[in-house]
C-alpha cells in the first residue's frame, strides 16, 4: 500500500511539471533454482531447495524538475514452486531523492551509499577471497547485490549533502556532510542511535588534503535508562602525486565513551597512522607498500563493522551429522547462500558499538580490515601483466605484529602472503574462444612463543586458501566452468574478549584443525553480454578433526540472469 501511494505521489508530481519528467528505466531479472542435500549418512536433515525463485528489479531514474531527481528500485518476486500468486511479493529495494541545492551543492535523501576512508567509514570485503573465477563471482556478485554491498560503501538511510568548488585553476575543494539513523528507539530501554559524518578535501593534480570526522552517538533523552554513547573518529589524509610515485597517508584518533551513566563519561582514546606509496615501475609492473600502526583501543564502528554477521547460524544445515553438531558460517554460506525469498541474512547491515564476531578459520591478521586494532607492520602489493594480457599476476605480503602484547609482554607476529594469477590460454594458443585458467593461494598465520615456565601453549594458527578456476568456451557462447576452493586451517590462538569499554577482560582459546572444500562444475550459456544461464553442480566437503566431524553437502543450481 505504501509503495502504491509512493508511486501515485511521484506521478502526481510528474504531471505538474510540464517539461519534465525525463525517465530512464533499467533493471535486472534473476531466477534461481537449487537443491542442497547432505550425504547419505545424515538421515535427519531434510533437503533444502528453491524451485525457481524469480525476482525482477525495476530501476527507475526520473528527473522530476530542474533540481530534484528520483531513483527507485522496485522488486517483484515470485516462486514458481506454486502455480499461483500466493507467494508473490512486491517491495521497494531502494528509494532515493537527489538533486541540486545550488550550482555547487547537491543532496541525496533516502537510501544512500556512504564511504569515507578505511579508518573512518569503510565496508571491508568478506573473507576468503583470493582470486575467484566466473563461477564463484556470479554468486558472490548476487550476494553483494542482494545485501546492498556496493564496493566498500555502506548502504544507510539518511541524508547527505555534497559540494565542490574550484579555488585556483586545476584544483577543487569539496565537502560532504551526512547523517543517518542507525537504530530506532523502543522508547523504554533502547535509545535512538545516529551516525554523523563530515569530510572536507582539497585536491589538485599534485596534492590532496582531507579532514574527516565521524560520530556514532545515541540520543538517550526520553528513555528510562541513562545510555550515553559516543564514538568519534577524526582523521586527516594527505596525498602527494608525483609522476610515477603516489604517496598517501592518513592518521587520526578515536574517542569512545560507552558508559551507561551520563555523568560518568570515561573517554577511551585510540590512534592510528597509515603511510605508503604506489610506484608504477612500468606500464606492466606496479608496486605499492604501506606501513600502519593502529593502537589497541582504536574504535571505529564505521570501518570495523563486519560485512558478515558471524554470530548467526548458517541458514542451511546449521546442524549436521543428524542434528548433533552445530557448524559456523563458512565459505560456501558466504558465496552460495543465495535465497531471494528469505528476509534474514548472514550479511550484516548494521553499524553498532563494539567489535563484531569473526571466524578465526579465515585468519586473524586483520579481521577488521586496515582498522583492526592493535596491529603494526608493513603490507606490500606487486602487480604484473604482460603487454598482451596473457598473464596477470598479483602478489601481496603483510607482516604485522601486535602493537602491544595481549596478556603477555611478547607480541604476536602475523604474516600473510598471497599470490593470484589469470592465465589467458586462448591468447597464448591463438584460440578465438575463451580459455582462461586462474588461481590463487593465500597463507595467513599468527605466532607467539611463550616462555616454558609460563605453562601456556604457544600461539600458532595457520590459515591457507587455494583457489583454482577454469573457463573453457566449447561452443559459441557456451562455456564449461570449473572451480576448486580449499580452506585448511589449524592451530591455536587466544582471542581477546572485549567489554563494553573496549578493554580486554578475558580470552577465548580458539583451536581448529579443519578443511573446507568446494568442488564446482558448471555450464554457462551467454545469450548476450547481459543475459546468461548457468547450470552448476558442486560438492562441499567439511572435515573437522577437533570436533571429529566430517560431512558433505551436494548442491545443484540453475541460475538465469537478464540485465537491461
Amino acid at each position: 500500500m505504501r509503495i502504491i501511494l509512493t508511486y501515485t505521489f511521484i506521478f502526481s508530481i510528474l504531471t505538474i511539471f510540464g517539461q519534465y519528467p525525463k525517465f530512464e528505466i533499467g533493471g535486472l531479472s534473476r531466477a534461481l533454482a537449487d537443491n542442497s542435500f547432505l550425504d547419505e549418512m545424515d538421515t535427519v536433515n531434510n533437503d533444502v531447495k528453491q524451485d525457481f525463485n524469480l525476482v525482477f528489479d525495476l530501476a527507475i531514474n526520473g528527473e522530476l524538475n530542474e533540481f530534484i531527481n528520483f531513483y527507485s528500485e522496485l522488486r517483484l518476486g515470485n516462486s514458481l514452486e506454486v502455480f499461483d500468486t500466493s507467494s508473490s511479493y512486491i517491495n521497494l529495494r531502494r528509494i532515493l531523492i537527489y538533486g541540486k541545492l545550488s550550482k555547487n551543492t547537491s543532496f541525496e535523501i533516502g537510501d544512500i551509499d556512504l564511504k569515507m576512508t578505511p579508518f573512518t567509514l569503510w565496508n571491508s570485503q568478506e573473507e576468503g577471497i583470493v582470486n575467484e573465477n566466473r563461477l564463484e563471482n556470479n554468486f558472490r556478485e548476487i550476494q553483494r547485490y542482494e545485501n546492498f554491498n556496493n564496493g566498500n560503501f555502506w548502504r544507510r538511510q539518511g541524508l547527505v549533502i555534497k559540494g565542490n568548488k574550484s579555488v585556483f585553476k586545476d584544483d577543487t575543494i569539496s565537502f560532504k556532510i551526512f547523517g543517518t539513523r542507525e537504530l530506532a528507539s523502543n522508547e523504554i530501554s533502547t535509545p535512538d542511535v545516529f551516525l554523523y559524518g563530515s569530510e572536507i578535501k582539497y585536491q589538485s593534480n599534485i596534492i590532496s588534503l582531507g579532514l574527516n570526522h565521524i560520530d556514532l552517538f545515541s540520543n538517550y533523552k526520553g528513555i528510562n535508562y541513562d545510555t550515553n554513547l559516543n564514538n568519534h573518529v577524526f582523521s586527516t589524509n594527505f596525498n602527494l602525486n608525483f609522476k610515477k610515485i603516489k604517496l598517501h597517508s592518513e592518521f587520526g584518533f578515536s574517542s569512545l565513551t560507552n558508559t551507561m551513566n551520563n555523568f560518568d563519561s570515561k573517554w577511551i582514546n585510540g590512534e592510528f597512522l597509515n603511510v605508503g606509496f604506489n610506484f608504477d615501475i612500468s606500464d606492466n609492473l606496479s608496486f605499492s607498500t604501506s606501513f600502519r600502526s593502529v593502537s589497541e583501543d582504536f574504535s571505529s564502528p564505521g570501518s570495523q563493522s563486519k560485512r558478515i554477521n558471524y554470530s548467526l547460524a548458517p541458514s542451511m544445515f546449521a546442524q549436521t551429522n543428524n542434528n548433533t553438531i552445530s557448524r559456523d558460517i563458512s565459505l560456501s554460506d558466504i558465496i552460495y547462500g543465495v535465497d531471494f525469498m528469505r528476509s534474514n541474512s548472514i550479511y550484516n547491515r548494521t553499524i553498532d558499538y563494539g567489535l563484531d564476531n569473526f571466524n578465526p578459520i579465515f585468519g586473524v591478521i586483520e579481521p577488521y580490515g586496515l582498522a583492526t586494532p592493535n596491529r603494526r607492520g608493513v603490507s606490500s602489493d606487486l602487480t604484473f601483466s604482460d603487454s598482451l594480457k596473457i598473464i596477470m599476476v598479483n602478489a601481496n605480503f603483510s607482516f604485522l605484529t601486535d602493537l602491544v602484547g595481549e596478556g603477555i609482554n611478547t607480541k604476536r607476529n602475523y604474516s600473510n602472503y598471497s599470490i593470484a594469477f589469470d592465465f589467458s590460454l586462448n591468447k597464448l594458443l591463438g584460440f578465438d574462444k575463451q580459455f582462461v585458467l586462474n588461481g590463487g593461494y593465500s597463507n595467513s598465520s599468527s605466532k607467539r612463543d611463550h616462555p616454558i615456565d609460563l605453562n601456556v601453549q604457544n600461539v600458532n594458527l595457520k590459515c591457507n586458501i587455494i583457489n583454482l578456476g577454469l573457463e573453457l568456451e566449447i561452443l559459441k557462447n557456451l562455456s564449461v566452468l570449473s572451480s576448486y576452493k580449499r580452506l585448511f586451517s589449524n592451530g591455536l590462538d587466544y582471542l581477546p574478549i572485549r567489554s563494553n569499554d573496549f578493554t580486554i577482560e578475558s580470552y577465548n582459546a580458539f583451536q581448529c584443525d579443519l578443511v573446507h572444500e568446494i568442488n564446482s562444475l558448471g555450464l554457462a550459456y551467454d545469450f548476450n553480454k547481459k543475459s546468461s544461464v548457468l547450470i552448476n553442480y558442486q560438492i562441499l566437503n567439511f572435515s573437522d578433526k577437533i570436533l571429529d566431524n566430517s560431512f558433505s553437502i551436494n548442491q545443484f543450481f540453475v541460475l538465469v540472469q537478464i540485465k537491461f
Binding site: 592510528f272 602493537l403 602491544v404 596478556g407 601456556v456
Partner: protein
C-alpha cells in the same frame, strides 16, 4: 622534487619511530586463564601456633605457583562466623598479610579460623588453620564510642514504651569483649530508648565531616526495627546542648531482621538537621569540633504498633573509611 621526497621520507621515519608505542601488555595475564597451575610451594602461614592481633601482630601467608594466577584466600571463624577474603594476582603470596580485620563481624579471641586458598579457573584448593590469641584493637581507626564494656562510656535512656534496656554479659554472643546492649520497646511510637554517649569537645580529631563514618553492629529479628543516630552540637560552648540555640543532627536507617549480627556504617554527610521535638535549624553547618553528644535510638521504620528492638555492640567513629 628530490628535496620533497626526502622531506616526506624523514617525516615517515619520524612517525614510524614515535607512533603509538606501548611497553606493557593489555588484558589479564594469559597464564591466569590458560596456564597449567602447579603448586610449587605448599600453602602455609608464619603463625602456626596462633596470632595475637591485640599486639598489632599480623599473619603472613606463603605459597608459590607455576603461573600468575588470580587467587582468593578465604578466612572464616569457626565460632564467630566472621569472614575475610583476600584476593590478588601473582605467582606467589609475597606481601599478602592479614591484620585481623573482617568483612562483617569480628573474629573472636581463642577462635580457630579455617583458611582456604583457591584460584579462578581452577579446582585446586589448599587449606590451613590459624588460632587467634588476641582480637585486633580497632579503636585506633578513629574514636571508639562504646563497646558496652565500660559503663562510664555510655548512659542508657528509656521511655514509657521501653520493654527491655539492659547490658547483657555473654562473650559468645557479644561482637567484642563480653558485653552488649539488649534494647527493645512496644507500641506505635518511634522512640523506645537510647544509648547516650558524651563526647568531649574536640574529642573527634578528624575536622572534615566527609571523612568520618559511624559504625556499629546490630542484631535484630523484629521486623521494622530501625536505628536513629542523633548528634548534638554545643555551638555556644556552654557545655550542654540547648534547644533553640544549638543544633541537632539525625540519620535513620532500617535494620536487617535476619537474626544475625550486621555491621552498619554511614558517612557523616548523611546527617540532616533535626527539626523535631523542639529542635531547630541554627546555621545548617555541622561543625565536628562542636559535637558533645551522640544518641543511638531504638526506633521503628514507620508508626505501626508492634515490638521493635535489637542487640547492639561496638559503636565506633572511623576516619577516612568505614570499618
Amino acid at each position: 622534487m628530490v628535496k620533497t621526497f626526502n622531506f616526506i621520507t624523514v617525516i615517515f621515519i619520524f612517525l614510524l619511530l614515535i607512533s603509538c608505542g606501548k611497553v606493557d601488555y593489555i588484558g589479564p595475564p594469559i597464564e591466569a586463564q590458560f596456564g597449567e597451575l602447579i603448586i610449587l610451594e605448599p600453602f602455609s602461614s608464619d603463625k602456626p601456633v596462633g596470632v595475637d592481633f591485640s599486639l598489632n601482630d599480623t599473619v603472613r601467608f606463603f605459597s608459590e605457583f607455576s603461573i600468575s594466577a588470580n587467587y582468593n584466600i578465604n578466612i572464616s571463624g569457626r565460632n564467630s562466623g566472621a569472614n575475610f577474603t583476600i584476593s590478588g594476582t601473582g605467582k606467589n603470596l609475597s606481601n599478602v598479610f592479614w591484620a585481623g580485620n573482617s568483612d562483617n563481624i569480628f573474629f573472636k579471641q581463642y577462635e580457630w579460623c579455617d583458611v582456604v586458598l583457591s584460584f579462578d579457573n581452577s579446582d585446586t584448593t589448599l587449606s590451613d588453620s590459624i588460632l587467634i590469641l588476641g582480637e585486633r584493637d580497632f579503636s585506633n581507626l578513629g574514636y571508639l564510642l562504646t563497646s558496652y564494656e565500660d559503663p562510664s562510656e555510655y548512659g542508657l535512656v528509656n521511655s514509657q514504651n521501653t520493654t527491655q534496656l539492659q547490658v547483657l554479659n555473654n562473650s559468645s554472643i557479644a561482637i567484642h569483649g563480653n558485653n552488649f546492649l539488649d534494647i527493645s520497646g512496644e507500641g506505635s511510637n518511634t522512640y523506645f530508648g537510647a544509648t547516650r554517649i558524651s563526647i568531649p569537645l574536640g574529642g573527634i580529631s578528624e575536622p572534615n565531616k566527609s571523612n568520618i563514618f559511624f559504625n556499629g553492629f546490630f542484631k535484630s529479628d523484629l521486623n521494622g526495627s530501625a536505628v536513629v543516630v542523633k548528634m548534638f552540637e554545643d555551638e555556644n560552648n556552654d557545655g550542654s546542648y540547648d534547644q533553640g540555640i544549638d543544633e541537632a543532627w539525625t540519620y535513620k536507617f532500617t535494620l536487617n531482621s535476619n537474626g544475625v549480627w550486621n555491621k552498619e556504617s554511614f558517612n557523616f554527610d548523611n546527617f540532616i538537621v533535626d527539626q523535631t521535638a523542639g529542635n531547630v535549624q541554627i546555621d545548617g553547618n555541622l561543625n565536628v569540633g562542636n559535637i558533645i553528644r551522640l544518641d543511638v535510638v531504638c526506633s521503628q521504620n514507620g508508626n505501626s504498633f508492634g515490638n521493635f528492638g535489637y542487640f547492639v555492640d561496638y559503636l565506633i567513629l572511623t576516619y577516612n573509611s568505614s570499618l
